[in-house]
């Protein structure tokens, strides 16, 4: 990897990481907790393929005991035995400025599990949960 390409990768990461993700309805859909790259084989700069979001991505990135605990929570929420972090393909990114805007609704995203679970098992049972704010 030649130095200029590596420098640009770092630059991109600083501008993408920890950014707020907004979905197609401008609802908040998590943060860019980690990124996945694919190294280009012809010596060009690596390409971001996916955004990783949620505790499954933040855990490994933070590392340490806290990171392992977060990853553990992520594993408990998923049925599959070795769930990877929630992935958002970079292809659905519509716009990039102060936040990352997607062309999907958040219900279609992999990192919506905890929200859906909390909504269906807790909040939906409380009267008035579906009332629009005045």
């Amino acid at each position: 990897m030649d130095p200029p390409a590596r420098g640009r990768r770092l630059y991109a990461a600083l501008h993408l990481l920890d950014r707020q993700i907004l979905d197609a309805d401008s609802m908040m859909a998590g943060k860019v907790d980690d990124l996945e790259f694919e190294s280009a084989h012809d010596g060009a700069a690596p390409v971001v393929t996916d955004i990783l979001s949620g505790v499954g991505a933040l855990g490994p990135r933070l590392g340490g005991r806290l990171g392992r605990w977060l990853t553990g929570i992520h594993r408990r929420l998923r049925p599959e035995p070795e769930p990877g972090p929630a992935r958002i393909s970079f292809g659905v990114v519509k716009k990039l400025d102060n936040h990352v805007e997607l062309s999907l609704h958040r219900s279609e995203l992999e990192n919506n599990q905890l929200e859906a679970w909390t909504r269906d098992n807790l909040i939906a049972h409380i009267p008035g949960a579906s009332d629009a704010p005045e």
Binding site: R9, L35, F37, L62, G64, L66
Partner: protein
């Protein structure tokens, strides 16, 4: 599969230290707070340190008595609701009684301390008695009776004041 190693490394210096420090600080803080919360009454080994505890106890009792006197004054002028007065006097009484029982649990180190203890106990009994009477009257919404406690409370105030001055 390459992830953001470079970013992670650039965060290492600032991040790891701050998160680990943050966690250590949290544990330290929780320990200190719990240690400060539990304040076991240490023993008094000398007459001077016992005298010091006696003085502190008398000052606490005095604070309660003076609060109750103000309450009695307010009762006389009908400046308070009985429910409020009840809370005020009940809390003052609790404060004094708690100070008394804490003091009584301390082992007097010598005979001279025994005499001091007896003197203070007599004062405390009179004080808590007057405070109780006032509290009982307030609970019964008998503001006149509360106002009447002004005299015994004033006497306790004088006695405790003299005691505190003598221990200085």
């Amino acid at each position: 599969m390459l992830t953001t190693e470079a970013r992670r490394q650039s965060e290492v210096l600032l991040g790891v230290r701050s998160a680990a420090t943050g966690r250590r600080l949290l544990i330290l803080v929780l320990l200190v707070v719990s240690a400060s919360c539990v304040q076991p009454v240490g023993p008094a080994r000398t007459f001077d340190s016992y005298k010091h505890k006696a003085k502190d106890t008398a000052e606490t009792a005095l604070s309660s008595v003076e609060t109750a006197r103000l309450g009695a004054r307010a009762a006389k002028r009908d400046d308070v609701f009985p429910s409020f007065l009840s809370v005020l006097l009940g809390e003052a009484e609790d404060e004094a009684m708690s100070a008394q029982s804490t003091f009584d649990s301390v082992q007097p180190p010598n005979k001279r301390s025994d005499r001091l203890r007896d003197r203070l106990d007599a004062l405390l009994v009179r004080a808590t008695d007057a405070l109780s009477q006032a509290r009982i009257a307030a609970r019964r919404a008998d503001l006149d009776e509360v106002a009447r406690q002004a005299r015994p409370l004033a006497r306790s105030s004088r006695e405790l004041n003299r005691f505190v001055e003598a221990q200085k």
